[in-house]
């Protein structure tokens, strides 16, 4: 019962949280004294980036490590890594788009050669490379091994992105929500809206991941069924 309840509630809860984020972010929270209405992008961009860099890429990396570890090696881990990486591409693109929309009025350009922007774009290319690598190999076991190794190599970029604002002098601001000693920088309603958006987009990731996983299982089943049917037909032809 509980096992069925969580997946069923995942979609509606996600939609409610995202709708709540939109309502709070667009109508309830105040304008910023310096940035004006531009501040409302803060309720989308950091949450989307959080999912892109840590939740989805993290899921793909952990599933890849578990696939390579012989004790936990299973096709489920390979599928989870693949599906999480696909969703990750979507969120990385959204991160770059929302960042650009914020950057144009703030910095005066859609794109700047900033350490965080550039390293995030590189992560996007790496995620696309992962998907290209999967398409290049027909053998399931070989494909799974190679893509798992590549996912781990690509994940090295995530801490580089995280610390890029500290390691280099960048246009992109440093820590916005918390200071280095974990003191909250955003207060009141704005902080609550931010929290709701983080929860909403995180749940959206898991919702998309679940849907994509089910689609992948159906696709594999359809492929194996059609292969079996084709073999049966050939055998029948041979019988005549």
């Amino acid at each position: 019962m509980t096992k069925q309840l969580f997946p069923r509630l995942l979609g509606p809860v996600t939609l409610v949280l995202l709708a709540l984020t939109a309502w709070l972010g667009l109508w309830v929270t105040p304008r910023d004294a310096v940035q004006g209405n531009l501040v409302r992008l803060v309720y989308v961009h950091p949450a989307v980036a959080w999912v892109a860099l840590y939740v989805s890429f993290g899921t793909a990396t952990i599933a890849s490590v578990l696939y390579l570890w012989k004790r936990t090696r299973s096709i489920v881990m390979d599928r989870v890594a693949h599906c999480a990486m696909e969703v990750s591409v979507v969120f990385i693109v959204l991160t770059l788009i929302t960042g650009s929309i914020w950057g144009r009025p703030t910095w005066g350009v859609w794109w700047a050669w900033d350490a965080r922007l550039t390293s995030t774009a590189i992560l996007g290319v790496l995620a696309l490379g992962y998907l290209a690598l999967r398409r290049a190999n027909d053998d399931q076991a070989l494909r799974a091994r190679r893509s798992a190794v590549f996912a781990i190599l690509a994940a090295i970029n995530v801490p580089i992105i995280h610390f890029s604002v500290d390691w280099w002098k960048t246009l992109h601001q440093g820590a916005t929500v918390f200071t280095a000693n974990r003191t909250l920088l955003i207060h009141g309603l704005m902080a609550w809206t931010l929290l709701v958006s983080f929860l909403g987009f995180t749940l959206l990731f898991f919702w998309l991941l679940r849907a994509r996983y089910r689609l992948e299982v159906s696709r594999e089943r359809a492929l194996s069924v059609s292969l079996d049917e084709a073999l049966t037909l050939r055998r029948r032809e041979g019988a005549f």
């Binding site: 590189i122 290319v125 490379g129 290049a136 091994r145 590549f150 781990i152 970029n157």
Partner: protein, 219 residues
């Protein structure tokens, strides 16, 4: 592991010496690419350009991609894989050997390209000599990373086109570190900081390769 590495590196270098692909195809390609870089900058800006170190590394990256493909093609000739499997060679040693052979080839090509940069792009000779240790380490890191990415893409559909897609983003930090240390050698600045970054990347890629190369070669 070291014995296997030396064995594999010796094998790859001997094949390269006999086939002369490096000499007659890869090095001329690199020199041509360097000349094209000069043409792209224009005659007025090509000489003593601040872009010199960046162009040197850009051409080196292109050459590296060719050499990685070549290094993997050597492994794919009929009988090689089965021979390696039958001999029971340590995969970590095979990785180190292939990375070492690729590094030697890159160092040789790097010297030719550096001479080309001094000649064609008027890069200061003294600065180029000061940058040599950092170039050696950066090319070593490129060789280690390249061997790993070469094994990832080998044998699949369109592996020659897939390799740049996977490897170039990973090479980007090495390109930055190499260019910065080379520029620092020419114009002054934090030479050793970038040199250390390249050295850390070299150690990291060697460690990952030693750990995971066996997984990639698993049949």
């Amino acid at each position: 592991m070291i014995r296997t590495a030396l064995l594999v590196a010796g094998k790859d270098l001997r094949i390269e010496l006999r086939s002369r692909v490096l000499l007659w195809q890869v090095v001329p390609f690199g020199v041509m690419a360097l000349l094209l870089c000069g043409l792209a900058l224009g005659p007025a800006h090509a000489g003593n350009s601040p872009a010199g170190p960046g162009l040197f590394y850009l051409v080196t990256l292109l050459v590296t991609l060719l050499m990685i493909n070549r290094s993997q093609a050597v492994e794919r000739t009929s009988g090689t894989r089965s021979s390696v499997a039958t001999l029971g060679l340590d995969p970590a040693g095979v990785f180190l050997g292939k990375a070492l052979a690729l590094a030697v080839e890159l160092w040789v090509t790097g010297l030719v390209l550096l001479a080309g940069a001094v000649l064609v792009l008027h890069t200061a000779l003294h600065g180029a000599l000061v940058a040599l240790p950092s170039i050696a380490v950066t090319l070593g890191a490129l060789a280690a990373a390249g061997t790993l990415y070469g094994a990832l893409t080998a044998g699949g559909d369109g592996s020659a086109t897939l390799l740049p897609v996977l490897a170039l983003p990973a090479f980007a930090p090495l390109l930055i570190a190499g260019e910065r240390s080379f520029s620092a050698a020419l114009h002054g600045g934090a030479l050793w900081e970038w040199w250390v970054i390249a050295a850390v990347a070299l150690v990291a890629y060697l460690a990952v390769g030693i750990l995971l190369y066996g997984v990639l070669e698993e049949s």
